[in-house]
Structures are given as structure tokens and as C-alpha cells.
């Protein structure tokens, strides 16, 4: 029997597996998706969208207003995201502690885990000469308007900008192993230390017994079972919550499936007379760092993407759409990410399909409007000839559903990451986030993986 079985190989599962394996434990890592590496990642945007995501590209909330991008491959969402590595600030940790009652949500208690994870990754803070024109326009306009901004810190080792490498191509996986995804930073290292990995295994449910946990799933429609002394769910907000619901925990844990948040993201465009080429080079280098924005519950980033994704954001049809796309190289783009209320819910219907309810609250809408107002001001101050206000929005940071807390009536896992009332079943991923931090969640998920590993190895 394995000491530990980890289900899900993203930021939480990747980090946890690495630290457990490094500590000498016998670990099995199970992943629902395929195992791609730098030389096998999809080479085009169309192939990446079709191959790397649950739902074949995009999933929706119940109202089909908010799209969710959720990856299905070894390394999870860290493969396709920008790998921005921010520690949580006092506001985020204070709000977690207040909501959950967990007393170690403090800078002091989190610091050793942040430090450990940071020391195991290559980190890079962008500099002035690395800004793309999209970043320059953003920063210059913020200066004009008196908004504070800063350079982003990203997990990357060698993106080869001097050779003309365009990092938008790594939105379907980094072909250089530069981006410090969970695959690069943890899984591949753990493999060399003896971690066993099985892929394309989708877990349906778990069942505890006196000496461990039995796992039931399927591989290519064939039933499979595994057994571990301890099992840790790391399937993310949707994946872990779904496994817990299908395992029948809802009757014991009423908070299961509740408190879902997603940092809803809205992207608006400015059309410049000059060529911006926002898709070239290290395309995302700066973000807002304005304390007023933080207090008001949103942040701005200069972002961009490849043509199919950008086309999806222009909801006009026909000639108007094509004329917008004709100006692809002239687009300046800014995104607002809203620190949303955790009022969403995750359920599973009788066919086993996820049903996610996520309506923006009055507070979410107010935050969104303030953020979009700031974007419009920045685009106008940048000299944009026209501003396009996209109506499409997405949830990229999927959080909650199995939140951590001291009270089993209001949470799913206890402060030791253990499912309330269970001896050998744990969860560590974004599903345990008590509420939306308003900060990129990746570094903290990895750090929580480190904390749990240290605890389990004692």
C-alpha cells in the first residue's frame, strides 16, 4: 500500500508530491489528464484549446455568462497560466483568518513555506527594458493618472527574449521548460526522486476504512481502484469538490460545494494608431499596485492572448468583427480581476455533470465597474483611438467548494487540511481557500502543499 496517494497534479498536488517524495515517502500521483512535456505540448492555439482543457475548451456557469478555463493535464492550470508568483498580503491573510478561524493564516506562519517554495523555483522580476509596448502604454498612463503600478514577479528561468521568443506560445505549455509550472518546478524533479505517476485516471469517489482510503475511478472507461494509507485530494475547486460530493460527504459536511469564488476577469481593448504587438516577447510584465485599487477590491494587469482567444472577446459579428481583428497588432489590452464574494456553489447533477452557480453580487458588480472605469481612463490616457468594452468574462482562479475552517458546520477541512471527521483523507488545493484573496493564487497553493507535506512527514 502506498504511504500517500495524491489525486491531481497541479500547483497543490505537484508541490505536495515533490516534498513528500523528497522526504522519503512512497507516493503515487494520479492525474485525470495526459502527460505532456516541453517537446510534446500542443504547438498551436487551436490545438491547445482543444486538448488541454476539461470540457474541450471551456466550461460555463449555470447561466452561461461566466466561462471557466480548467486544465486537464499533468501540471494542471500552472501549465497554461502566466505563473505570476505573489505572496498574499496582510489583507488576504487577515480575511482568511477572520472567515475560517484558522490561526496560522499569518505572514509569520506562512513565511517558511513561501521561502521554501520560492527557493525551489526560478523567479524573475521584470525590468524596464523587458516591458512590451502594451506594458509601456499601461505604465505610462498609470503615471499620468497617479495610479501606482509595479513589475510582475514570474516563475521563469530562461525565456530567451533576446532570441525573439514570444511567450504567448507558452499559453499551451512552455516548450523551453522555462515557465516554472508545477510540472517543471516539482513533478519532473519528484519523478527523478522516485515519484510514481499514473495518468488519464479520473477518480469518481473515495471511501475511508480503518487503515486507509480506497479510491474508485476509471481509466479509458475501465474501472480502476487504488488504496493508500493517506489520500490527498488536489483536484482544484471543481475536481476536489466533485470527488467529495460523489463520495457522499454532503450530508455530513453542509459547507461542501459552497463558498466558490473565481476572480472574474474582464478584458477591454484600446486601439492605437501605432503597432503595439501585445502578443510579442514577454507579453505580461506589469500590473497595478495601487493601494486604493486593493481596498476597492480589484486589480489591473496588462494582458493579451493569441488570435482565437482575442476573437472570442469581440462579440460583434460580421464585418465589424473582422475589422476589429484586422487591427490585432494595434490592440492595447488591460484586464480587471475582481476580488469577488464567495457566494458561488458547485453541485453535481444526476448525470455526474458539474453545475456551477456563480452570479455576480452587487458588491462584485460595483468592484467591476470601478475597475473598468480605471481601465477606460488608462486606455484614453494612452491615446487609444477607440475603446472596445468586451462583454465576455471568465473565471480563471477557481477557489472554494471545500473551504478550510475550524467549524465542521461551516467548512470542509480542518486547519490540518484533514476532512472534518476523517482520519486519513486530506485536501490541499484552491478548493480550501476560505474566500477570494484578490491575489494570484498559485504561489500560496504551492506553499500550502509544502506545509501539508511537512506535517504529514512528521
Amino acid at each position: 500500500m502506498y504511504d500517500f496517494i495524491v489525486i491531481g497534479s497541479g500547483a497543490g498536488g505537484g508541490s505536495l508530491s515533490y516534498y513528500l517524495t523528497k522526504g522519503g515517502a512512497k507516493v503515487l500521483l494520479l492525474e485525470a489528464g495526459k502527460f505532456y512535456r516541453k517537446d510534446t505540448f500542443p504547438r498551436t492555439e487551436a490545438e491547445g484549446s482543444a486538448q488541454l482543457y476539461w470540457g474541450g475548451g471551456i466550461e460555463f456557469d449555470k447561466d452561461a455568462r461566466m466561462g471557466f478555463l480548467r486544465t486537464k493535464l499533468v501540471g494542471g492550470s500552472s501549465i497554461v497560466y502566466q505563473c505570476l508568483m505573489d505572496r498574499f498580503d496582510d489583507i488576504a491573510l487577515h480575511d482568511w483568518k477572520a472567515e475560517s478561524g484558522v490561526n496560522w493564516f499569518t505572514q509569520e506562519d506562512m513565511a517558511p513555506h513561501y521561502e521554501q517554495v520560492e527557493s525551489d523555483m526560478a523567479l524573475h522580476t521584470f525590468k524596464e527594458d523587458e516591458r512590451t509596448r502594451n506594458g509601456q502604454l499601461f505604465a505610462n498612463a498609470c503615471d499620468k493618472l497617479g495610479y501606482k503600478w509595479s513589475y510582475l514577479r514570474r516563475g521563469q528561468s530562461d525565456c530567451a527574449p533576446e532570441k525573439g521568443n514570444d511567450c504567448t506560445t507558452c499559453l499551451a505549455g512552455c516548450h523551453r521548460d522555462s515557465k516554472q509550472s508545477a510540472l517543471v518546478a516539482f513533478v519532473q524533479k519528484a519523478e527523478k526522486l522516485g515519484l510514481e505517476i499514473q495518468t488519464e485516471i479520473e477518480i469518481d469517489r473515495v471511501e475511508s476504512h480503518a487503515n486507509g482510503v480506497k479510491i474508485f475511478g476509471k481509466k479509458h472507461k475501465n474501472a480502476v481502484t487504488f488504496e493508500g494509507k493517506k489520500v490527498i485530494l488536489c483536484g482544484g475547486a471543481f475536481g476536489s469538490t466533485k470527488m467529495m460530493l460523489q463520495s457522499g460527504f454532503k450530508s455530513k459536511l453542509p459547507a461542501l460545494g459552497k463558498h466558490f469564488s473565481s476572480h472574474p476577469q474582464f478584458m477591454w481593448f484600446g486601439f492605437q494608431k501605432e503597432i503595439v504587438d501585445a502578443h510579442k516577447g514577454m507579453f505580461q510584465s506589469v500590473a497595478s499596485k495601487d493601494p486604493n485599487f486593493r481596498k476597492e477590491g480589484f486589480k489591473l494587469e496588462n494582458v493579451f492572448s493569441l488570435p482565437i482567444s482575442i476573437a472570442m472577446l469581440f462579440t460583434a459579428y460580421g464585418a465589424q468583427h473582422q475589422q476589429y481583428m484586422k487591427k490585432y497588432r494595434h490592440m492595447q489590452c488591460i484586464e480587471v480581476a475582481v476580488r469577488d464574494e464567495n457566494t458561488g456553489t458547485i453541485q453535481v447533477d444526476n448525470k455526474g455533470k458539474l453545475v456551477v452557480t456563480k452570479r455576480l453580487t452587487d458588491q462584485d458588480n460595483a468592484r467591476k465597474e470601478r475597475g473598468l472605469d480605471a481601465i477606460k481612463k488608462i486606455l484614453v490616457a494612452s491615446g487609444a483611438e477607440e475603446v472596445y468594452e468586451s462583454q465576455m468574462y471568465f473565471g480563471l482562479h477557481l477557489m472554494g467548494g471545500c473551504v478550510m475552517g475550524v467549524d465542521g458546520g461551516k467548512s470542509v477541512v480542518d486547519p490540518e487540511f484533514r476532512v472534518h471527521g476523517e482520519k486519513n483523507l486530506y485536501i490541499v488545493d484552491s478548493s480550501i481557500y476560505p474566500n477570494a484573496p484578490g491575489i494570484n493564487p498559485g504561489l500560496t497553493i504551492k506553499s500550502l502543499g509544502n506545509r501539508l507535506a511537512n506535517q504529514l512527514l512528521k
Binding site: K38, T44, I58, P307, I308, Y328, R329, K351, K353, Q391
Partner: protein
Amino acid sequence: MANHLSKNAQKGLGRLGDLILPASGEFPKYSDVAGFQYLDEMVENAPEDDISSLSLVLSILAFMPGFILQWIVSKMEKSQYDPSNGILAVTFRQLNVGIRGLLYSTYYSEKINPNYKGKTPEQLIDFEVKRVAD
């Protein structure tokens, strides 16, 4: 690879595509450029029942009168602005994203008809990226 979208479904998608991506200025209409042979690859990982439903809807659209198709496209285009969360509004929003995802993936990409001779949509928007392997 399985045949997820029937010939009739592809025909329906082509008709919708020509309304959403018509011939305009230098841009060719969708059906002139589309890489129909790549559609099955594009939906390979989507849930089977979603694809069956989509295939059925598209097959019906292949034989719908043009004015009904125009009405559907108009409803899809406005769906993001529709405050309703009723089943019709939700369906049009799903179609808006699902259909456009398929159209754009086989138009603004390299997944186009290899026999197409004109400037491709990628060339028309002057898109180029460089991938430097280590």
C-alpha cells in the same frame, strides 16, 4: 479519430459561419477558408453528450430557411447583453461561445482548408509568433 460532427452538421456550421464571418473587404467568408476536416479534432475532448447535441442542432440548421438562421445568429450575437437567465437565453449564450469557438479555431488559425489559395485570415491580421526551443 471518431466522426463527431456529421456532414450535415458541418454544412450547418458553414451556413452559420458565413453569417458570422462573411466575405468582407479582404476577408474571405468562413466556408471558403474553413478547415472542416479539423472540426472533429477540435471537439475530440468535449463531453460526448454536448457534442451529440451540438451536432444535432447544426444538422437541423443545415436545412433551415435563411431568415430563421439570421434570427438565430442575431439572438446569439445579442445573448451576452440579455439579462434573462431563462433556458432560451442560456442556450443562445452557450451557442455564442461554442459555435464561435469552432468557427474561429478553423478560421483565425492554421487549421484551414489547405486548398485555399488567397490570403489567410492569420495573414490578413498580420499575425506571427516565434517559438525558440532550447
